[in-house]
Amino acid sequence: MFVVWLGTIVTLLVTINPNLFGTVQADVGQQRLLNGIITFILFFTVLFANFAEAVAEGRGKAQADALRSTRSDTIARKMLPDQSIQEVNSTELRRGDQVKVIAGDMIPADGEVIQGIGSVDESAITGESAPVLKQPGTDIASSVTGGTRLLSDELIVRISADPGQGFIDRMISLVEGAERTKTPNEIALTVLLAVLTQVFLIVVATTPSLSGYIADFLDNVLGSAAGNSLRAGTSIAILISLLVALIPTTIGGLLSAIGIAGMDRVAQFNVIATSGRAVEACGDVNTLVLDKTGTITLGNRLADEFIPVNGHDLQEVANAGWIASVFDETPEGRSIVRLAEKLGAKFDLNGQPAEGIEFSARTRMSGTDLDGKEYRKGAVDAIKGFVRSRGGQVPLTLDQAYERVSRLGGTPLAVCQGPDIYGVIYLKDMVKPGLRERFDQLRRMGVKTIMLTGDNRITASVIAKEAGVDDFIAEATPEDKIDVIRSEQAQGKLVAMTGDGTNDAPALAQANVGLAMNSGTQAAKEAANMVDLDSDPTKLIDLVTIGKQLLITRGALTTFSVANDIAKYFAIIPTIFAAAGIGALNIMGLKSAQSAIVSALIYNALIIPVLIPLALRGVQFRPLTADQLLQRNILIYGLGGIIAPFIAIKAIDLILPLS
């Protein structure tokens, strides 16, 4: 657009003085009018290109304002070394300071909870109205974001960001474009545009010499004035028009708008990206490394079946399971009660002395003491030990049921009453609905999915098969994550992963796209290049889609822009050089050189605002392979880019009163 802007200045000068760069052959008034029209159109071309960027930035600014409204200066209770409290403005807080936040207070800056437990309303940044529990020392829920409000209790928070450096501040800078730097693909496209401009600049700069030579030749062969039309056709204004028509101005005008729109789309997903590079890298990702629990599965294991053993029937197991779980408030416990009730289990506890036994890591079981009878449910090994301690026997059918559940990818829980084992409860962790189709889409796009889980191999293989992931790593440790990422990267692949814990931080930093959960630790958030404010790990798949859409949109519009130029060559060159015998190439039958140039330039200017909605919305995304996408792009945007301007330029030529 810089070249078009310079061209506009030069054409403005020749509008003021048509004889500035040489005496014009045609009527000066007519030449001035043509130069003026060209200047006007070029000016609007620059204006429309800036308009595209302004619209994209305007949307970003609106989002920035929405984010900014969540951030306000508050009075913070800063803790001094002698543990006394000093009230300071939140802008005076520095990294490492400790502040006390009391129920009802706004959290003054991003930080890590180091003392206290409290529920925080994060709706200002996530839109989710349910309060989030924050407590120290956990891999999740220990970090707080400035601008959110503490609803209950008190927290001591260690500030982790200086003023203006918090996540919300960084997001504001990014969506406003203040910190926008070109991504590798944008740089590559900039080089391509520079090369094309350089080539056409040389072509246009040498055209007067060439046309002068041909005009002299025509004068000698056909007569003294035969080459005059050729000389008139290479006036400075027309040469600048030719240059503007030759270079791909459409993509030049829309390039930054496409990039900004990509950032906007990520922001609309409630994800903070630290750079445009990260968003674009999503589109190039080859491998997705995903946790099983919470990402691929719902994360709350639910009872699916009761398997009777030891001569008991289904109803007895359901009854025992119901009693053992009636005081269990965990999702697993509730699901056992629901399943038992569905099978007709009901027990009237009225009047009977009953006491709930809570689960502990030591006993690995929970249950109910009812009227002197001990009902227990828990890990099969733990229940075996309990039964033996009460003088009972472990039946062989228990191990068979245990193996069966494991092979189904579930977690087996044994149920007993004193020394008598009743059966096994099959706890199934549900694969999130629709994931199989999403993974199929990713596979078609050439993205490989790897699932990591701490479960045993049998369970992992079953879940992997059910979800449709390409590969899995069972009994994985946090160190395995970084090993998987490194081995994939060694094969030249780009890897994306999610994480929330401090132990995920090295892997998040190593991955090309690291998506940290907002509920995760500060270390994880700082290591990642994206933070999901909704803490939904499945969103990584959506981000890959957005990144791909960004790249597809840029590719499609580049194809369209370059294809457009072909029609512009056919409009301008044959009419300018008609005297040299190439008038037959004027296949559109344009009225005159003047009309052809003005029509091509009007089309060139108008196509930019016409394509702004497409640049901002993005080309409709379809999960296709790279080859299929290329074919589709060439067919729609390549062929369409050739045909559309032919029709449009001819239509403009018919409307224009120029002859």
């Binding site: 070249v3 310079l6 030069v10 000068l13 004889n19 500035l20 760069f21 040489g22 005496t23 070109k182 740089i187 590559a188 900039t190 080089v191 520079a194 090369v195 401009t197 350089q198 600049l201 040389i202 700069a205 400075i236």
Partner: protein, 93 residues
């Protein structure tokens, strides 16, 4: 006979200091704002190029047209150099 008094006026020290400050300010501004400097250098260079264009044009162009053409040629060459920079160090643009 009484000699007439000489009425010489020298610039005051304050005026000289002000002028020096202005020159230094322009000098420091040139370091930040390169465009006026480049335009000035182009105009100076055109003092050499324009006569060459005029001499080679065989009276086809007037002096002012030769001057404008010289400047246009310089501008075109400058864009070409700029584009080469964009090609080789694109991350700076």
């Amino acid at each position: 006979m009484k000699l007439p008094l000489l009425n010489l006026s020298f610039p005051s020290l304050q005026t000289t200091t002000q002028a020096l400050e202005e020159v230094l300010a322009i000098g420091s501004e040139w370091r930040r704002q390169k465009l006026p400097l480049y335009l000035f250098l182009a105009l100076c260079l055109n003092l050499v190029i324009a006569p060459v264009v005029y001499a080679t044009s065989n009276n086809e162009f007037s002096r002012s047209q030769a001057w404008a053409l010289g400047l246009l040629g310089l501008g075109t060459a400058a864009i070409s150099v700029y584009l080469f920079f964009v090609m080789f160090i694109p991350e700076k643009f």
